[in-house]
């Protein structure tokens, strides 16, 4: 009506939707942006990371100096047995951050804004899980330091230890997708957190993380031997302090891919359903 109107060309090509190559580039760039955004929080509020590493440190001290004396671990010193377990426990508990972060973003309406942007929708989930992977890497560093301080000594080579850390990170990434589902289902971040615990406690404590499974009652062996935390723990232990590695490592990798294969589509589906 007489007013000059500037109509922006739709994003992408002049006609129709953006091509696959461009979409892929965007998905990558958007993931990088959101990973950065999610990591900034840990850098800006270092207290979060500090306090979340206090708990594993307490566990190290508790098991190393209080319970450790009563736990028989065969030929291995208890501290060497313990630290791989602490790694896996911290990684598992740390994955809750994915649930909390997503629930919080939903609650605050940020995700609503993201969903109205021309960005790749997948980036909300990938950006979150990658950021939590970065967080897990830092936490692994802290545990390694604390472990060495209380007498842990890796008995294999540097390559094997690094492979162990790599396995932990892979498992951490897989768990993040699992907890993403909880974050998307929970009504708020507090609930997301308490929803995660009933899963985490049996997984981390009815496992080979703190005590050998043989010392547990018989009926528990079936679960404790084959559940993913035990499997990954055994693999990491073998990689760090020696022992047969191959089978445990392959089983761990299978678990990680299995978890992602089942739960990532579930998370994506749930994310899409936010539009209902």
């Amino acid at each position: 009506m007489g007013v000059p109107v500037v109509t922006l060309r739709p994003p992408g090509t002049a006609e129709g939707a953006p091509g696959a190559g461009l979409r892929l580039r965007w998905a990558f760039a958007d993931t990088v942006t959101l990973t950065w955004r999610n990591l900034v929080r840990y850098v800006r509020i270092p207290e979060t990371l500090f306090w979340s590493s206090v708990q594993p440190i307490m566990f190290v001290l508790l098991f190393r100096y209080v319970f450790g004396g009563a736990i028989r671990t065969g030929g291995v010193s208890y501290v060497n047995f313990l630290i791989p377990g602490i790694f896996i426990q911290t990684i598992a508990f740390g994955a809750v951050n994915t649930a909390i972060g997503l629930a919080e973003d939903l609650q605050k309406g940020i995700i609503e804004r993201f969903r109205a942007l021309p960005m790749a929708r997948s980036a909300v989930l990938t950006g979150r899980t990658f950021a939590d992977l970065g967080r897990a890497l830092v936490v692994c560093g802290i545990i390694m330091g604390v472990g060495y301080a209380v007498g842990f000594r890796a008995e294999t080579g540097a390559a094997a230890v690094l492979a162990g850390v790599g396995l932990l990170l892979l498992f951490s990434y897989a768990l993040s997708w699992g907890f993403a589902v909880i974050g998307l289902v929970a009504p708020n971040s507090e609930t997301a957190q308490v929803m995660a615990f009933p899963l985490l406690f049996p997984l981390t404590f009815a496992s080979s993380a703190f005590v050998p499974v043989q010392t547990m009652p018989h009926w528990l062996h079936g679960f404790a031997d084959y559940q993913p935390v035990s499997v990954v723990c055994d693999a990491v232990r073998a990689l760090m302090i020696g022992g047969p590695t191959a089978s445990a490592v392959w089983q761990s990798i299978a678990w990680a891919f299995g978890i992602v294969g089942v739960l990532a589509p579930l998370a994506v589906r749930r994310y899409r359903r936010l539009a209902r």
Binding site: M1, V5, L8, P10, P11, T33, I110, M119, R276
Partner: protein, 345 residues
Amino acid sequence: MTSAIEAEGLVKRFKGGVVALDGVSFAVEQGSVFGLLGPNGAGKTTVVRILTTVLAADGGRARVLGYDVARQPEMVRGLFGLAGQNAAVDENLTGRENLQMIGRLSHLSRAAARARAAELLEEFGLLDAAERSLKTYSGGMRRRLDVAAALVARASVLFLDEPTTGLDPQSRAELWSVIERLVEGGTTVLLTTQYLEEADRLASRLAVVDRGRVISQGTPAELKAALGRTVLEIELPDSAAAELAARAVAPLSAGAPGVYGSSVELPAEGGPRTAMEALRVLDREGIEPVRLSLREPSLDDVFLALTGHRAEQGATSTGEGARGRGPSVPDAAAGAGAARWASPS
């Protein structure tokens, strides 16, 4: 005349049986400001969420610049800017980082995102606070940043969901002039509001929404002309005098006078002439008014005439429905809105 935004019979039912939208239709001409006016819980946010592809409608169709929001959401998303009802900004980032992030996610180059953020910070008077975390921002600053974020991509369609709710009068006035400037530049704006004054000032057309339905549409002037009447308000020293005055001026109007405490309201079809006659009558009766004024019908009067109930009643009966997931409504702001709807009687 081209429509930038078209909604046809939008229906939305939420879990728990809440019918948020019950067939909402309207069209927004390109380059104009369209106001969706309604009390809390009327369905305004739901309309905006559907138009911005965030929520799927259960029925009806909607188009933005010709693209169907349900069938071609990817085409639509790059075309508009959105400032949602709850200022959705990232607490842990600085003001500048927030705008740059939105720029990057809108696929501006790094340099362009940086330049655009600087421009907007300047324009919205946020340069001094640019490097501060949002935790230190006041409500007004957050709102401004939120609206700035909606402008990052220079979209030609803008959705502003209650942009000034909860703002102090000065921030509100500032935001109004920003919106007016944008419209001068050709941007189409869909604005929702609970503030009558705001719709009246900014919107060239508006739809009054109540309980998920558009109950009236038109220009603010049309709505007033169709439904409102000029009102003569006479304030007297006390209610006894008001009763006397009401009886004295009653014959001057076809409508009955209303007495509200110490003041009298009389429908004044004759406008100033009715006022003159009223003064003559009062003088003859020896009644001296404290104050006398002619009031144009307000949109509040319009709402009352359209629905037969005050807007705030609508808010309590439909607004209390259980909210599932979704951004929370700032309660204090909603309260302020409801207060504005109440007539000054």
